[in-house]
Amino acid sequence: MAEDLVLDTAIRDWVLIPLSVVMVLIGVLRYFVSKLMRSSQLPDAKALKEGQVIIRARNLKSGANFIPSKSFRARRVYFTNEENGLLYVPKDQAQNAQAQMFSDPNMAMDMMKKNLSMLIPQSLTFAWVNFFFSGFVAAKIPFPLTQRFRAMLQNGIDLSTVDVSYVSSRSWYFLNLFGLRGLFSLILGEENAMDDTQRMMQMGGFGFDAARSLAVEKDSLDIIQHDWALPKMEQRAEEVLRKLLR
């Protein structure tokens, strides 16, 4: 390790600790703000029904062998026929679904709120950190790292001679951003468990694509082989009774 830097205790008292405390407090504040802004949306009938259809189709798939083949075939036709089967989604409708979601103002509004509650405090804190604490070497991680991490850990100070394990205040902010997630889930409960990264992911995927999962269920129902399990049951019952009578 290179020669140790001597850090002023004032940096600890006026940078490291306040920064961390503020991060925690902002996390808590954000949680309550997003809770306030969350509009309780009623799921519409179509989405509800699609969810239920999928559950039922899965049940049919997993329990298929327990009902007579006549009943199974009737149900399969009911689910997958190409006219009005429950799982059948017409081609054009499937494409429209995405467009529909974009055009739904409620949905867009909700997304906006979510994003705002996430983005505004984050950029505000970042600006605040930048403004107040720029250019400090605030901390030192207790394990060595390679040069590659310099950009990550020493964001905001341009000293190529300082050992990589020293962390600039701005990078400490980022470390906090990711590392405090566990703490939040402890103090705020499970609702916060859905963290920012997951939310980002959802933004890309736009939630749950009903048409696609319906199509998946339909395909897997179509290829299922029905093999009625009940005829075997008579033999098994015989065995059970033999054991019982013995």
Binding site: R56, G63, M233, E234, V240, L245
Partner: protein, 302 residues
């Protein structure tokens, strides 16, 4: 459905609470979680918490859940005065809430004001048309009033959307059986078997419906389902054993004149008959001759 272990724990807690051992809140939570219906106990212990200002405030936000639980229990016990008090506390705390509105509707129901209840539910459904509990209340009300046709209609409408709801399927199956609409009932039981492929009770009920419908094919299928019920219960379900006996004797009667290969293997039926006899020998020896005579007349034992 309540698992045996959970029920045992619940009973243990109940005796503990009954004997003044504390843990009333834990007991109430348990009842709620298992959806057990023990209104008298819930009313007694819930009220003792609610009447104790300190214990009540210890619950924090759970206090209101307890009010709801006690209100429902009070309605079960026809203590409408208590229910009314609880509901008025809740509606003061949460004005305009659907959940409280539901309770108010139930209070109307409990006091027999059917028209008022109907109106209340209708109003709630306008605000939240997909509220499962309210729809179920409406179904239950129709059934309680003896308006079975309406109950069936509501249930079908409900299942149109919530088609993965097992309890609703079961209710519908039972109503269909009571209306002797066996085909429809069989469909419902098939649906239930799909939901829980290893539940012997559904197999048993399905077999019974098939047996009642009659016809060789149905009887043979019924026999298979009786067999699977026996399999899942380990041969301890007397009803399944009897059912299998009846089935085989009915099948034997139908296939009497036919050639040999159509006949079922006699192994299973004699085993079942034996198992029945053994069961009666052990548990009700006084009725043994009755059983042996019946089985003899069905030509299942000699």
């Amino acid at each position: 459905m309540v698992g045996a272990a959970e029920e045992a724990q619940l009973n243990r807690l109940e005796t503990q609470v009954d004997n003044g051992g504390g843990g009333a809140w834990e007991y109430l939570c348990h009842v709620r979680k298992l959806k057990a219906r023990r209104p008298d106990k819930v009313l007694k212990h819930g009220l003792s918490i609610l009447n104790n200002a300190k214990a009540r405030s210890n619950l924090g936000a759970e206090e209101w859940t307890l009010y709801e639980q006690v209100a429902i229990a009070a309605m079960d016990c026809q203590r409408l005065d208590i229910a009314k008090d609880c509901i008025s506390v809740l509606s003061k705390k949460f004005p305009g809430s659907t959940r409280v509105g539901r309770l108010e509707g139930m209070l109307f129901e409990a006091s027999g004001a059917w028209a008022d209840a109907e109106r209340a539910y209708e109003r709630l459904l306008q605000d939240s048309p997909h509220d499962q509990v309210i729809q179920k209340r409406k179904i239950a009300m129709a059934k309680a009033l003896g308006n079975i046709a309406a109950a069936v209609e509501y249930l079908n409408k409900y299942l149109e959307i919530f088609m993965a709801d097992q309890d609703a399927w079961r209710e519908l199956a039972e109503i269909y059986v009571s209306l002797q609409m066996y085909k429809q009932a069989a469909f419902c039981y098939e649906e239930l078997i799909l939901c829980q492929p290893t539940d012997p009770l559904y197999h048993l009920a399905y077999a019974e419906v098939l047996y009642t419908m009659g016809g060789l094919e149905n009887l043979q299928t019924a026999k298979k389902y009786y067999a699977s019920a026996i399999n899942f219960t380990g041969g301890k379900n007397t009803r399944a054993l009897y059912g299998l006996c009846l089935c085989s004797s009915a099948i034997n009667q139908i296939t009497k004149g036919r050639n040999k290969e159509d006949k079922e293997s006699p192994d299973l039926q004699s085993l079942v008959a034996e198992a029945l006899v053994k069961d009666y020998k052990k548990k009700a020896p006084a009725k043994l001759p009755l059983v042996t005579n019946t089985l003899k007349s069905m030509k299942l034992i000699s």
